[in-house]
């Protein structure tokens, strides 16, 4: 602080011309020092200036000191006021703009990240995460398959009727073709088919469509008049089923054997 003061006073004492002529530039320099330590400035400056330049600065020094004291109120009002505010004002503006920009960027990044997390195929798949819906689709499909792949000679048309409430789309056509092929044999040999769903696993599930893996057991019995006991054969079937939610229940729209 003293060094700063010394520099300003020496500058003034070595350039006497500027002392009187360019008044506005000087207070700007000294104002920084004087506003902070007015006591030090007023008490020390003359002494220091006198000690440093005893030759020609000595008579000037008191003059310099007085301008310094006199110029002080002017400096804080006019010249010092503008730099202190306007310099940081542009700074402030820049800082504000960059802060707003950074915040907006960060916010966008957060929203994007959140969207990324919630819109993955993993997140959209409700299999097992929504226990109720998973159980429901599994139940509807399992029960539907058991119903359409079961057959008794007595309920010949019931199977086709229930097929209408279980199947839709491609699966309905597949089933119609299949049933047309085996029907003659079923009727002729008086075959009873009973199908149980053994395991049901939901692979994918969203609002209105699902894909399931279903294990079925099918037992066929032939009521053969020549044999005392009906012969039974069991077969395993593994199906990948696509289901759509229509109306009030899940309808099977596609069946693939695995």
């Amino acid at each position: 602080m003293t060094r700063l003061l010394r520099r300003t006073t020496t500058a003034r004492s070595t350039e006497p011309a500027t002392d009187g002529g360019e008044a506005p530039e000087q207070p700007e320099e000294t104002a920084v020092a004087t506003t902070r330590t007015p006591a030090v400035a007023t008490t020390r400056t003359p002494a220091v200036a006198a000690a440093e330049a005893p030759g020609d600065a000595a008579p000037e020094a008191p003059g310099g000191a007085t301008t310094l004291v006199e110029g002080e109120p002017e400096a804080t009002d006019g010249d010092a006021e503008v730099p202190v505010r306007s310099f940081p004002a542009t700074w402030q503006k820049a800082a504000l703009v960059s802060a707003v920009a950074a915040l907006l960027l960060a916010g966008s990044a957060f929203f994007h990240g959140a969207h990324q997390l919630t819109s993955t195929s993993s997140a959209r798949n409700h299999a097992l995460t929504d226990a109720g819906a998973t159980a429901r689709v599994g139940g509807d499909v399992g029960e539907g398959l058991a119903r359409i792949f079961s057959y008794t000679p007595a309920s010949d048309d019931a199977v086709e009727r229930s097929a209408g409430t279980v199947l839709a789309g491609r699966a309905a056509r597949q089933y119609a073709d299949l049933f047309a092929q085996v029907r003659a044999k079923l009727v002729e040999q008086r075959i009873t088919l009973s199908t149980q769903t053994v395991r049901t696993g939901v692979i994918e599930l969203d609002e209105d469509s699902a894909r399931l893996l279903v294990f079925l057991d099918q037992t066929s019995r032939r009521d053969d008049a020549r044999q005392d006991e009906p012969t039974a054969t069991s077969a395993a079937a593994q199906l990948t089923v696509t289901a759509k939610f229509q109306g009030e229940r899940w309808l099977i729209v596609d069946i693939k054997a695995r």
């Binding site: 402030q92 503006k93 504000l96 802060a99 707003v100 915040l103 907006l104 960060a106 916010g107 966008s108 990044a109 957060f110 929203f111 990240g113 959140a114 997390l117 919630t118 993955t120 993993s122 997140a123 798949n125 299999a127 097992l128 995460t129 149980q196 053994v198 395991r199 049901t200 696993g201 939901v202 692979i203 399931l212 893996l213 294990f215 057991d217 037992t219 039974a232 054969t233 069991s234 077969a235 395993a236 593994q238 990948t240 695995r258």
Partner: protein, 171 residues
């Protein structure tokens, strides 16, 4: 000047609010239990598929290959199944290559780290010395156990039997 300041402060507050909401939404999604469960489910399913492929495959063309295959079995399994598989002695014989054609989880307990999986597997069996391959289709049920971060191993593996099948044709 003053209006500019108010505008600036307003913009800052709005930006802060936007950023804060974004951070909150992100944190919410990050810690969402449903989403975490979904991720765990998909990991378990993918891991399960891989493990089943390994467990149903064995290159037994040479004794070394068979030994390596059995080591791979041990690596894919855990618990009692691992102990059981460890007792298998490598020998040259028929080789099998498995493909999991479809798989689904039937149960998942993320807290306990257990899952149940059903799968259909196609196994191509090549007899020793390289003859005509035969294809076998299996339906399997496996119990998976989480053994580490994102690592699931097979703790139990069994074929799903055909109910009441004395004259079993397919299995």
């Amino acid at each position: 000047m003053r209006r500019g300041r108010i505008l600036g402060a307003g913009a800052l507050v709005v930006a802060l609010g936007f950023c804060g909401t974004g951070a909150w939404t992100y944190a919410q999604a990050r810690t969402d239990e449903g989403l975490a469960f979904s991720r765990e489910r998909d990991t378990a399913l993918a891991e399960g598929r891989d493990r089943l492929t390994v467990l149903n495959s064995l290159d037994a063309s040479t004794r070394e290959h068979a030994a390596a295959g059995i080591r791979a079995w041990r690596d894919a399994s855990t618990g009692p199944l691992r102990t059981e598989l460890g007792r298998t002695t490598p020998a040259v014989g028929a080789s099998a290559r498995a493909t999991v054609t479809e798989a689904a989880l039937t149960a998942l307990d993320t807290r306990a780290g257990t899952a149940k999986l059903i799968a259909t597997v196609r196994v191509d069996v090549t007899p020793r010395g390289g003859g005509a391959a035969t294809t076998d289709r299996k339906r399997l049920e496996a119990v998976l156990t989480r053994t580490g971060e994102d690592t699931w191993r097979v703790a139990a593996l069994s074929a799903v039997p055909v109910a009441g099948a004395e004259e079993n044709e397919d299995e």
